[in-house]
Symmetry: C2
Subunit: 356 residues, 2 copies
């Protein structure tokens, strides 16, 4: 098969980790006789510096004409004082909206060889394996009005949490589809004892559930979910929630495993190319040192193979290679444990290619 991949390296360690993923994709291409072509474009701080905007029109064109998008990471202290529309994150928010990336999918799995790197006790996180499905193009992130005003002489600010029924439906459906291929349980997280939007969310979840009689649905309040993730993360299979709750809970969840540098994500489009990126950020403090962990990005590339290209065998091959290299004891500095010696970004990539 022939596939065009748009590559947005972004800022900080983004460049280094994406390089690793591209090499792995090339190796897969040779092995399985696929033709992957890579087209680079700018996003984030680098785009602000070169084009004056965090998401240049060109970049969007390249993405729209691709079969899938591979993203590194955006952001850094250099742009932290910029006005909102000239900040790297704005590029991320814009591309989500422009490509209709409505479903952010984050698997949370524990690598057995890394259990001891977690702040949680081994018996809590052993065999944890769930997925968070976060709505990505609605809610407080995009609702209007959003701004300040003077009301009865007082300075007031509002943001708006807004959803259409169809937006809730499609993300909840996606979570049921995923649960069907897994352990058949969906935990829908909301704040139905306070928010009108959550009460509608709960209603939609009940309706969708009727069409999936083989999948169990449970509702959980977001504050309780924040507790349960720590208390007993093995209870979860697929968690589905709105944008802001998903932002908070998925970062909390990523910390459970002690493998922040290992966790991939997919942002699925409703009608075009999907986007794949590591969940870790641009980590400016360790950029250009060749010590960043490329595994999260390499596993994101595996998700791309599976979800965008339907290449299940190829995806599995990458995942197996990663596991093999970890089992052999290789570690980048972020997860290394005394007294093991850590290896570099490029060396980790080499090892994984060898293991393919």
């Amino acid at each position: 098969m022939k596939k065009n991949i748009a590559v947005l390296r972004g800022d900080g360690v983004g460049k280094e980790v994406v390089k690793g993923a591209i090499e792995v994709l090339k190796a897969i291409g040779e092995q399985y006789d696929h033709e992957f072509s890579f087209q680079h474009a700018l996003i984030g701080g680098t785009a602000i510096d070169k084009e004056g905007t965090p998401l240049p029109a060109d970049t969007l064109e390249v993405c729209k004409h691709s079969d899938a998008v591979l993203l590194g990471a955006v952001g850094g202290p250099k742009w932290d004082q910029n006005p909102p529309h000239l900040r790297p994150e704005k590029g991320l928010l814009q591309i989500r909206k422009a490509l209709n990336l409505y479903a952010n999918v984050r698997p949370v799995t524990c690598f057995n060889s890394l259990l001891d790197a977690s702040p949680l006790k081994r018996e809590i996180i052993e065999n944890v394996n769930f997925v968070i499905v976060r709505e990505l193009t609605g809610g407080l992130y995009f609702g209007k009005p959003s701004g300040r005003k003077i009301e009865n002489g007082e300075e007031t600010v509002v943001d708006t949490l807004s959803y259409k029924r169809v937006e809730m439906e499609r993300i909840i459906e996606k979570s049921f589809e995923m649960a069907r291929a897994r352990k058949k349980k969906v935990t829908s997280v909301d704040k139905a004892n306070v928010l009108e939007s959550s009460r509608m969310w709960r209603e939609v979840a009940e309706e969708v559930a009727k069409r999936y009689p083989d999948v169990a649905l449970e509702h959980m309040l977001v504050d309780n979910a924040a507790m349960q993730l720590i208390r007993n993360p093995r209870q979860f299979d697929v968690i589905v929630t709105e944008n802001m709750f998903g932002d908070i809970l998925s970062d909390e969840a990523s910390m459970l495993t002690g493998s922040l540098g290992m966790l991939p994500s997919a942002s699925l489009s409703s009608n075009g190319p999907s986007l794949y990126e590591p969940i870790h950020g641009s980590a400016p403090d360790i950029a250009n040192m060749n010590i960043a962990n490329p595994i999260a990005t390499i596993l994101s590339a595996a998700m791309m193979l599976r979800l965008s290209f339907g290449m299940e065998d190829e995806a599995k091959a990458v995942e197996r290679a990663v596991e093999q290299v970890l089992a052999a004891g290789y570690r980048t500095a972020d997860v290394v444990q005394f007294p093991r010696k850590s290896i570099s970004t490029t060396e980790m990539t080499e090892r994984i290619k060898e293991a393919l």
Copy 2:
């Protein structure tokens, strides 16, 4: 001194744990020669059953004429299918607004004798000692509009996150005041890379900080805060944040210590009596079994002594008694560890009174 305490036992284990706290307060009264009088009133499900509303006008009157309010917990499956305005939680939201309980204060401390009950590793939580200060009468909880509408033929729902500048100011000031009496560090949590309200929050925090040059201010994004609470909770002294973020983060934080049944809270009023309650809920599954842990409510009573009545010695006496009983090995069932035998709610209360 003479003090009137309004007592809202509420539902589930609320009744049992409040009973424990009242006994301890009486013992303190005798010992230190104070006259505490207790006036009971209804709230939550019990109030719905008896008066048809979760917060009867009578109850509010009793509270308004008190020097402080002691609350058990509200809620239970019996009322879960009720319409929003007839749900026990509504009583809680209404009393917060009616009494101007703008600042929810939750200390998160680890009891050394209970370290092993935590899902986190001992080395992560040892000596954790911070306070979460949550704004309690604004934000998404009370903003208007909040409801459904048809927009261009599509069913849409909105909730509104709204704050006045003065509402931000007073809660942030409170957090600086508290930090001044502690380790002099405030972590202000927001989502300034996305929300207008957070950008204003950050601005107000900077302004307030200028008036407290002896206190350090740091800003943290809410998703990062959800990670940092697990990764390194010892970094925190005082965390201040808006209502919904505070709801999520404070429940997450309460799970760190493995002592959910031990954590108290205060909800401070801007202009009248403050309210004190355990952070655990009504736990209907263990109600009326005399096994609930009364310590969270007893420690909430200690906060009342300190913060509403200025009785520092008396507060300390209660806290010391609790520590002593724990150190002696007494545990209620929620925190008992094999092979220790657990004691009942009433027996735990007796032990603490003895230790006074």
